[in-house]
Each structure stands twice: as structure tokens, then as C-alpha cells.
Symmetry: C2
Subunit: 254 residues, 2 copies
DNA sequence: CGTCAACTTGACTCAGGTCAACCGGTGTGG
DNA sequence: CCACACCGGTTGACCTGAGTCAAGTTGACG
């Protein structure tokens, strides 16, 4: 047992036993392929709240899958402005934006105690060349990220503050639901101001929005504990028709 | 010779002779690998201005590389609102956002007479499994797209209308320059209102911005013919420091 | 108990949207 | 060949959603 971000060994959970494997990279791989993937996955001891997984400008060496907890990724300018580019929940990959330049173009920081699986990129690339299903899944996940960013772009360009918040809440709702958790009651691990930053809104605006939403009876918010009380109303606001498959479409919003 | 979108044969230019091959997928492949890539590339007769390369909801079968001309991609809601998600110049790939769902989540339409190379996805995937350099380049280009979308997100969330326009103009400038064209004089193939839509701005605002920019002596605009007269001023506005490598960083903005 | 950060609330401001009128080029059909 | 319509663009007047600033309030934690 050593200090630092040192590997703890492949003792416990392998991908094959991980409850998230149907959301994550192993999705639709067979037993043997998953075993090969397991060979290259490193598991470190968890990050503490506020700790960085990587920082802007660091050399890229691996992509990461969130195993438990949550992360935010953000860029910052010289002037110190910060822009949150995403919140990442268990089963989701981070670091895909660094493949191009081999440098992380943003930083990733734990919002709570968080453990990740480390996927050393060169080995992953190599393995993907041998396992078509893995290559495909990697491309799919990157494609999904592109799509999600475009949805978000649309939201930022054309949607009002209310609509954006509704979309974000539904996005969380869907992402919790996919993991088998309640789609209507969940605890957010980030501050209002971080949500606001992500949506391009001032913290004061967030506060007013939450108030308006709970006055309308659409949700109850006790601090970071959220209950969504009227999904149809939120969907209507977010511009999702009632029957729209909530797992595809705008719901894939990050 | 047949009608419709039929293949015209691999007569003329193969990737190996294409002037864009250092921007496009073949980048950093060797002769032999490029030949294999050439095997699967289809080249159709050009799209006319206004014609669709694909439409929202269509089954995904291939990604496309722009060879000449230009495209816009856009999503539209049931209510008929349209949101431009990108402009695509020669050497750039489109359709990457469809890999995830096997359906195009947006439409792509030619802004002028445009020819594209068709890369049937299953064959491309297969080939990428055999040619590590190809797989890597594909991942790189997708990664770059993710990064560019995030830059754009940042711009939409935190930047003023002026700053956004400056960024977009510099993006075009850089993209023309990479192709060996003038970074300061170019013809845009899209309407002001399409630029505005992309940036989340009303056409009236675009008009006022162009006026303000030319009053300041930063550019001259005669219709769609643009001359950038003061790159440093535009860079300052866009938040790029003078010496910042213009080919990486925010310049990769699409 | 004091401190600090997250969150609220209210008052005011302003960037950019909306609406309406108008201009000039271009295509079209009589 | 001309009249008309249409589209993209421009300009002005006005309005409003959300940012900003300032002053609390609440809650967690040492």
C-alpha cells in the first residue's frame, strides 16, 4: 500500500462484475473481451472532494470512466473566468477531448468522493484495434458526446433560462434512471452556482428559477436534494413531447 | 453514367493526390494505407446549392469528407425552429454525430455546389481495426470536434455578441489559411442570418455587428466578401492573446 | 460563537431581441 | 421588357430577460 495516485491492484471488481458495465465501455462485449479490457484497466484509490483528476494543460495519457461519485470538467481563461463544460456521473467517460492534442484542454475535479477506472489510452487504442466491439463502443461514446454538446449548444443559443434548467433537470433524471435510481428524487453533488455556470446563468438567476419552479409545484428543492414533482410540465418546458423516448434525443444532454 | 447519387468511379483524384489529405482522414498515413482507404471511398457527383447530403432521422451509413464547396449542419424542432450546428469546409468530416444512434440527429445541406467523399462507416470501421494510424486519426478528429463544440459552448455561455463574431471570423480565417488560402480575404458561402443563427444572434444583430466592426476599421464586408483588416484587434476581442498558436486552441472552433 | 461559503431577495441596468419599415438585387411570368 | 414579388440585408424605436450590485439570511464547521 503506497501513497499518491498509485494503483491498488485488480483485487475487487472487474468490469465483468461492475454494475455499470451496460452503460460504460464494456457494453455489448462478450466475456472474453471484457477480460482483456480488465487487463489494462487501472483502479486507483478514490479522489477526495475537490481533488483534481487532471488539470488543464497536462499531458494526456488515459481516459477515465467514473465508477462512483461525480466529476465536473471545466475550462478557465487567463483572466480566471471558469466555464463548466460538463458533469460526469458513474458509467460516463471523461478525457475524450484530449485525444486530439495529447494535452488536456480542460480540468476535471471531483465533486464528492469519487473513484474512477483509468484506461491508458495507448493500450486502449491498441486493444480497440483487436476487438471490433470495443472500437465501435468507443466511437459510439464519442459520437454521443458530440451529439450531446450540440444539443447543449442549441439550448444555449435558442432557449430561455427556464427551458435550460428544465432540460438539465431532465438530463439528470434520465441519467439517474438509467442507473436504476429514482428519476424523481436525487441528490445533486454540485452547487447551484456550478449548475448556473454550466447553463450560462448567474447564480442569482438560478436561485430565482428554483424558486419559480417550486412555486409552480414542479419540484421541491431542499438544498441539493431535489424532488421532481411534475415531469410532464418539465418536459413540456424543455420542448420534449410527452411520448418522446427519454433515453435518446435531448435527454442524452450531459 | 447514371442519374441520382450514383458513384462515378474512382477515376480522378484518389486521396493520395488530394490536396486536402493533410487535413483530412489520410493525415499521417503511409502510401499503402492510403491506397486501402481509397478502396472504400466513394465519390459522387457534386451536390447543388441547397441540396441535402442527409436529413434528420435518416439511417446513418457513412460519414462524409467535404472535398470542395461547403455545408451547413442544422437541427430543427417540431415547431420549425432551426439551429445551425456547424459550417463545414473542405477537409472536414461530417456525420460523426450519427454513429451513436445510427440515425442522423441533424440535417446537412450544401451552401453552394459541393462535392464530398463518402466513407461507408462499416467498411471504415473495419479498416480502422487493421490500420492503427487510421483508427487514431478517426479518434483524433472526433476528439477535436468535441473540443471545438466545448469551445463554442463556452462562447455561447460567457461571451458577448461582439466576441462571438470575432471568434467566428477568426475561425474561418484559420480554416482558410490551413488550406493555403488567404487568412484575410475570403468569401463566405452562407447568409448573415445563418451565421447569426449559428452564433445564437438575431439577423438584425448581425447586421449591426458587421457595421460596428467596419466602422472600427476591423474589416471590410462587401456582401459575403470579407476582408479582415485588423487581426490583432479581432484576436484581442476574441480573447486570444497575440502569440497564441492560432491553429490549436480556440481557433479550432468550427 | 465566529467565520465563511452558499444561497436569497430586491432594485436597477443594459445587451440584444422583436417589430416594423424600407432598400436593392434578382428571378419570373405576362 | 417591365412590373411585381421575394429574399437578404439594413436601420430605427422599443421592450424585456437576465446580469449586476448590494444587502441580507442560512447553514456547516472549527
Amino acid at each position: 500500500m503506497t501513497t499518491g495516485g498509485v494503483q491498488i491492484g485488480k483485487l475487487q471488481q472487474a468490469c465483468s462484475h461492475c454494475g455499470l458495465n451496460q452503460l460504460c465501455l464494456p457494453m455489448s462485449l462478450n466475456e472474453a473481451d471484457i477480460r482483456q479490457l480488465d487487463e489494462i484497466v487501472e483502479r486507483r484509490r478514490p479522489l477526495e472532494r475537490g481533488a483534481h483528476l487532471y488539470r488543464f494543460g497536462e499531458r494526456f495519457s488515459a481516459i477515465y470512466a467514473v465508477r462512483s461519485g461525480s466529476l465536473k470538467t471545466y475550462t478557465s481563461t487567463e483572466e480566471g473566468e471558469e466555464q463548466v463544460t460538463g458533469f460526469h456521473l458513474p458509467g460516463e467517460l471523461v478525457g475524450l477531448d484530449a485525444i486530439n492534442s495529447w494535452e488536456h484542454p480542460c480540468s476535471a475535479r471531483a465533486l464528492e468522493t469519487t473513484s474512477v477506472c483509468v484506461l491508458p489510452f495507448e493500450q486502449l487504442e491498441n486493444l480497440a484495434g483487436h476487438i471490433p466491439g470495443l472500437q465501435r463502443q468507443l466511437l459510439r461514446l464519442m459520437s454521443r458526446e458530440i451529439f450531446a454538446d450540440q444539443q447543449m449548444l442549441f439550448a444555449m443559443a435558442r432557449r430561455s433560462a427556464e427551458e435550460r434548467l428544465a432540460m438539465l433537470l431532465l438530463s439528470f433524471s434520465n441519467r439517474f434512471e438509467r442507473r436504476g435510481l429514482s428519476p424523481t428524487r436525487f441528490r445533486l453533488s454540485m452547487a447551484r452556482s456550478e449548475l448556473g455556470n454550466y447553463l450560462g446563468l448567474a447564480p442569482e438567476t438560478m436561485s430565482r428559477l428554483f424558486r419559480r419552479f417550486s412555486d409552480q409545484g414542479w419540484l421541491k428543492a431542499e438544498g441539493r436534494e431535489i424532488s421532481l414533482l411534475d415531469l410532464p410540465a418539465l418536459r413540456a418546458l424543455a420542448g420534449q413531447s410527452e411520448d418522446e423516448a427519454p433515453c435518446e434525443g435531448p435527454a442524452a444532454l450531459r
